[in-house]
Assembly symmetry: C2
Homo-oligomer: 273 residues x 2
């Protein structure tokens, strides 16, 4: 075991927003870890799910049927660790932290997966809500978790995804507190970016999604809201990890929640207007 809590974490520093995507990947490859919100600002970040070829069909159908949570940005050939989204990147080493899953159990959280790699792994890169944070910020919507230097809070909901072959599981959401005056803007701007989760799945009381306590997220950190803020919930690319936990494929690799793959693509490429 090599879990986050067992050792000191090198936190991404305040200059990270100005790094180029390649610079960020080189640092993560060298062992730097931490949440990537705001890193290499303006460049698209992605969720990672790698499964054996035997399970890849199930994953792709699951993604098509749950497009809001799992918008696919790229699919690799089996065994390949390269992606058209970042030529020169190595998917085995260039994320800050990974999760290794066996039979649905988290067994390791290493900073690279060289020792776990298999020749039959198909990697699916899935859009991330960090991408629309750029558009929301530009439009004046405050991003509380970035201001507070913390990872976005994520919650497992009571909504089930549409199952696909051997995969099933609950919808996972990310939450951002939004002032009422900015709610319409937040909805409109994220809707214009359908490949990175699009508009919210829910605004308002967390009970609507079966979430008991916003102060205790299932992934990421709690965020401090202003008194009038409305909790706004977007479908989250951690949803495939919840499907892995529920469906127990024999083996899977993912990113650690909030510690994403940084691509060479620009956020504005995913905006349709």
């Amino acid at each position: 075991m090599n879990r986050t809590e067992d050792r000191p974490v090198a936190v991404v520093d305040e200059h990270a927003h100005a790094w180029s995507p390649e610079e960020a990947r080189i640092r993560f490859r060298a062992g730097l870890t931490g949440p990537t919100a705001g890193v290499a600002a303006g460049h698209t970040q992605a969720n990672l799910l790698s499964v054996p070829r035997d399970w890849a069909y199930d994953v792709l159908v699951f993604c098509f049927r749950n497009k809001k949570a799992c918008p696919v940005l790229d699919v690799t050939d089996a065994g390949s660790w390269t992606t058209a989204l970042a030529p020169g990147a190595d998917l085995r080493t260039d994320l800050p932290r990974y999760r290794v899953w066996r039979d649905g159990e988290l067994v390791d959280e290493p900073t690279d997966v060289l020792a776990h790699w298999r020749d039959d792994l198909v990697s699916v890169l899935i859009g991330c809500s960090f991408t629309f944070e750029w558009a929301l910020s530009e439009a004046g919507v405050p991003m509380r978790h970035i201001e507070q230097g913390s990872n976005v809070p994520m919650y497992v909901t009571s909504r089930q995804c549409r199952p696909a072959e051997r995969l099933h599981g609950p919808l996972v959401v990310s939450m951002r507190p939004v002032p009422p005056t900015h709610l319409e803007t937040a909805i409109r701007e994220s809707r214009l970016m359908p490949e990175v989760h699009g508009d919210p799945v829910h605004c308002g009381p967390p009970e609507g999604l079966g979430i008991d306590d916003l102060g205790r997220p299932d992934f990421g950190d709690p965020v401090d809201a202003e008194p009038d803020d409305i909790p706004v919930f977007w479908a989250c690319g951690v949803t495939p990890q919840a499907a892995v936990m529920a469906s127990r494929p024999p083996f899977a690799l993912t990113h650690a929640p909030g510690q994403m793959f940084i691509t060479d693509a620009r956020d504005e490429q995913y905006r349709v207007a």
Copy 2:
């Protein structure tokens, strides 16, 4: 053989725009055939590709890698002829006309595929440009082929799709002549509908796509343009048929070009603003 040219075609009539989706499907199930542009106006139409389960993974990766031409709206379980897009519909009978492919060769164009159905067929429903025609018309862009009562012209281009597993082939496009005064509107409105091909892949001289003669489309009918009209080309859901021709899977079913599956979904559901 049961090809279009061998027998009279019952053409969809001028009242067809007012049919409900179910009414349209019942008529097609009963044997009515013809291009579906404008039929059950306001309801989303879809391209069909059904392949044996053994080829379905190749198709899904191909669709993800060529999303502009192949935006997937639904994937069925193997053997199932039902879709979440139109509960009650039967994918084996409810399209006006089908194409049956063996080893990449067109072997039949029946009005149902009951005799060809297999228990291992996975059906993929792909977005269709007829969906954004609604938005373009609403915005005042003339739709020449609808005015002329003909099928939209489609062309095989010199651009190759990104290959996936055993599938490869050229990009197919649909073309609409657009007055210069409406060009910006046509681009903006279609861009807002990324799940039904989004914005054009090319505007202007057809040579840019390796198309020699607009008067001789590879599928559909030629369309008469006004003198100032600019030819505008959108990625087309017939692209998977071109991949079937090029890649020669042992068996596939598709819709006949321009004779689509009519879903219960509304066109505006696919507009992101």
